[in-house]
Symmetry: C7
Subunit: 77 residues, 7 copies
């Protein structure tokens, strides 16, 4: 068995100040820079963009506070 | 790793007395001035307007108490 | 930052004895006089009416106890 | 501000031994006499009838234990 | 106000060893003999049958452990 | 009233090392041997097979950790 | 009754550093190497790929933090 030196929230912690892609449960993809997060995975994203399925920008949303319960996954961009 | 000086609810705290756009889980966009909020993200919005997809006003709702569980994201307008 | 002197439930507290409009998660609008509420936003409404989308009355329901979890927003009428 | 002398569960307490109409989240209407309830709004209804949209009886269910989480609202009949 | 001498789970307690009809949130009706239950309304049913809408037996399931969260109502058969 | 000597999780406890059929909330049937479970009804199934509605095997999944929240019922096979 | 020497999370613990297949509640299959997990089954997957129903790769997602609540099952690949 491999030792586990990290925990999932470490990924979020390292992502502060970095760009991430977030896929929501409703299928929408958002891209933005993580400013802060909390234990519920509520996240403040700066320069957040809602993406088309093709990956191109549909809407520029600016800064948003995203409720963690809507998130499917988060990926460092 | 960047230091995190803020927490997501700080965005809401700064938004008191300011206009925000709120997207609901059901896809509806609401715009109004934040009067108060609590830890469940229940929010009282003044002069709240329900928006068309085009961004124009569909209905003027006045003051509303919005249950936090319905929120997808909140964005300072 | 603006100071927050109120909390969302203050709106409900002031609404006791007053008429409110409640939009449910399923899209239905209800109108009635708030008799009481609790921390789960369970609300007793007197003379409650279920409304058509046009705002006209579909059904007179009398007094009801509405489970808070079904509420999208509450607005003083 | 009006004083609130009652709490929502007082309505249920007064309804014990009385007939109520219960609308479920799935849109079904049930009618029956409240025998008992608990803090989750689980309710035992005697002589419970599932109603058609017209209000006529679709099925006689007898005594049922209804899980509170399925309830939209309860109304003294 | 009528006195409430019983609580909803008393109905389940009396049903141990007896046949019940259980309607699930997904609309399915199950019939079986209650062997045991817990505070989450998880229930073990013996000789459990899944019913057609007509009330005839669709499938004999034998003994099952049903998760309480799927239950709409339980009725002594 | 019949005495209740068992609790629902006793069925799971007896099923360790045995084959069970599990119906999921999404309607899928899985069959496999219970290796372990926890209080959330998370279950590890060995030699797990996803079944067609006819009961024939659609996919062999091997060992899986199934999240309890997805379960409708569990039946000793 | 067979003795239960393991608990479901032991499967996840052994999977650290190994490839797993994860089926989501929405039907999507993901494949990747487990880097870490927590008690909510939030999982960090490295070299994560979203799969077609045929099992071929639809999208390479790189490293992702998957929220546990979206998971149907996890299988060592």
């Amino acid at each position: 068995m491999a030792a586990m030196h990290e925990r999932p929230f470490d990924l979020l912690n390292k992502a502060v100040g970095q760009q991430v892609l977030i896929r929501l449960k409703n299928g929408t993809d958002m891209r933005g820079k993580v400013q802060s997060f909390d234990v519920h995975m509520n996240i403040v994203l700066e320069n957040c963009e809602e993406l088309e399925e093709t990956g191109s920008v549909r809407t520029k949303l600016g800064t948003i506070l995203l409720r963690g319960g809507n998130i499917l996954f988060i990926s460092p961009a």
